[in-house]
């Protein structure tokens, strides 16, 4: 983990309110793992005051140039400021931070993405493709225009779902997961789930996984202040039997957690 200055290579609006940010990172930036995040200072003028954590959509090295990519939506004060930052501007970045996904060596990975939660899973899918590991990518969003990155999924089977039926299965990605699991005869010994998306969806996927004893890792999001484990401002509540009396910090023990251990009822 380092604090580095990064130049904006590109900050492009792909679809309404959804941006792809590419940042060139210097040599001392440690190679990040899928699921890790960076803490960006969006302004030196105090608005917003705090940094914002962004999950990485990818990491690229080409001809000695290193870059990270962030896929974000304009949802609040921080992202509104970020969306206006021009190409070539320098941003102060701390990272890579947190603990990423940890795929088991011999299991088929089932990646389940909801909306902009697709970002860290695209990063993971590229890593799995590099390692020639089998995976399935299930991707749900409200409509076709929000399915960012479908062309990025190369080495694995891709199934889409939209709430409005504009493409793929008309319904929830959770239905796709249930169908995939049943039709392919997966068992908890042969397959595992990696997921990211709205916490309501993650809650449902965690319940699905726990009921069947499936290993399931979910990447969470939420406000953070320090992002290095000092301020204790990003606690994750755990279910009984998973270490009560303790709140792991999302920033250093996550943002990827065992989804079946998280107490989703108490998570905002």
């Amino acid at each position: 983990m380092n604090q580095v200055a990064c130049k904006i290579v590109e900050n492009r609006e792909l679809t309404k309110g959804n941006f792809l940010l590419t940042l060139r990172v210097p040599r001392q930036f440690t190679k990040p793992q899928p699921g890790q995040f960076v803490h960006l200072r969006l302004s030196t003028e105090g608005e917003p005051l705090l940094r914002r954590p962004y999950s990485l959509e990818g990491y690229f090295e080409r001809r000695g140039i290193r870059a990270v990519r962030i896929y974000y939506s304009v949802v609040g004060r921080g992202s509104r400021v970020l969306a206006n930052h021009p190409k070539a501007m320098e941003l102060d970045l701390i990272g890579p931070l947190g603990v990423g996904f940890t795929p088991s060596p011999k299991k088929t990975a089932i990646l389940v993405a909801g909306g902009r939660g697709v970002a860290p899973l695209l990063f993971l899918s590229r890593r799995l493709t590099e390692k020639k590991k089998p995976y399935v990518f299930l991707f749900g969003a409200r409509s076709k225009s929000e399915l960012y990155g479908v062309r990025e999924v190369k080495g694995g089977r891709l199934h889409l779902a939209t709430d409005d039926g504009s493409i793929g299965y008309h319904g929830s990605v959770l239905d796709l997961l249930e169908r995939e699991w049943t039709e392919n005869g997966y068992t908890p010994e042969k397959a595992e789930i990696f997921t990211c998306g709205p916490h309501g969806l993650l809650h449902a996927i965690a319940d699905f996984a726990r009921a069947r004893g499936i290993r399931c890792e979910a990447s969470l999001e939420g406000p953070m202040a320090c992002a290095v484990g000092a301020c204790r401002g990003c606690p994750i509540p755990l279910r009984a039997g998973n270490g009560e009396g303790r709140y792991p910090a999302m920033c250093v023990e996550g943002p990827v957690f065992d989804a079946t251990a998280v107490d989703w009822e108490r998570l905002p």
Binding site: R41, G46, L49, L50, P235, I236
Partner: protein
């Protein structure tokens, strides 16, 4: 041309000499290790640890932080490993730190404060103890000791004989007259007071019609509180003769200068450091640059050097004279 003289930045809090007046506030930097790649501890005066309580605390339910206008509301609830955890896990870390280590403690009653002070004193790595009698986020006892001069007196009187380490009482601004609490602490053996802890605040999500923080109320910090904090510091330096450690909303070196000019002996940097981990070091440089520009040889020359035009600025009778005496003292050297 002669090279510019490097100004003497040393200040004293009780028997503790700090190499410069910049500290990192409690709750910001953990126990020093969390920020190890990001902050050069050799450049700053010291750190105040996350508060240690007698028993471990899991902290408050989420959400614990929310950004507000030029500020941050928090309701962490002093998540910490307790005294035993501090001794086992944190003391080895603190032992290696290349700056002053001020250990913050908070008890639920006088007996707990006594046990904590004994324990921290015995741990051998503390250079001073900050007595946190002002946390707004730990239930009914949190603010009691620092909103009631009698109770502040009770705690300080009980713990004073238990240690030779400098005791710094950390005060809440959520009182009508902070100077009264500071005087009580000074009378009962505090070597210094530090202020301000956070202002009680809240935020509501109008869409869900729910409070944003898990505990409804929290503490406000950040640039929004700096003018409020500065006024509390100014009120306090006029009332007590012990050093005052100022904090609240310091976000740039010029903010630190303001606290020193009103009479604070040292300052603590907090919330703004989350955005800018280099801020404490920048404040040290900023003070040195300022002293050079003003032709001062030591930081003592600027502590309390604010000049209040005659007939203005006195909060109550006699304060202006006390302030003048303080300025005269500070010009004579570092107190």
């Amino acid at each position: 041309m002669r090279p510019p003289v490097k100004p003497d930045l040393r200040v004293h809090i009780g028997g503790l000499e700090l190499r410069n007046p910049i500290l990192v506030a409690s709750g910001i930097i953990g126990y020093g290790k969390e920020y190890e790649n990001l902050v050069d501890l050799e450049a700053i005066g010291g750190i105040v640890t996350k508060t240690v309580t007698l028993r471990p605390r899991a902290g408050n339910p989420p959400p614990r932080v929310v950004e507000t206008a030029a500020g941050m509301l928090n309701s962490i609830g002093i998540e910490n490993p307790g005294l035993a955890g501090y001794l086992a896990e944190k003391v080895p870390i603190l032992r290696e730190l290349p700056c002053a280590r001020i250990v913050s403690v908070e008890g639920e009653d006088v007996g707990e404060f006594e046990e904590l002070v004994r324990g921290v004193d015995g741990s051998g790595v503390a250079d001073a103890i900050e007595v946190n009698i002002s946390c707004p986020n730990v239930g009914p006892h949190g603010l009691r000791y620092s909103t009631d001069a009698g109770m502040a007196r009770e705690v300080m009187t009980a713990i004073r004989p238990l240690t030779k380490l400098p005791l710094i009482a950390k005060l809440t601004p959520n009182v009508t007259r902070i100077a009264e609490i500071a005087e009580a602490c000074a009378d009962c053996g505090a070597d210094a007071v530090s202020l301000v802890n956070t202002f009680v605040g809240m935020a509501v999500d109008s869409r869900t019609r729910k409070p944003i923080l898990g505990t409804v109320l929290g503490g406000l910090s950040g640039p929004a509180i700096k003018p409020l904090a500065l006024a509390k510091a100014w009120e306090t330096v006029q009332a007590v003769d012990i050093p005052v450690v100022g904090m609240g909303g310091i976000a740039k070196p010029a903010d630190a200068l303001e606290f020193l000019l009103v009479g604070c002996t040292a300052v603590e940097v907090g919330t703004a450091m989350f955005a800018d981990p280099g801020l404490p070091e920048a404040c040290v440089t900023g003070i040195a640059d300022y002293l050079r520009a003003m032709g001062e040889r030591s930081v003592g020359g600027m502590i309390g050097a604010m000049e209040v035009p005659a007939g203005r600025g006195s909060i109550r009778a006699g304060m202006a004279q006390r302030h003048a005496a303080r300025v005269a003292r500070s010009k004579g050297g570092i107190s």
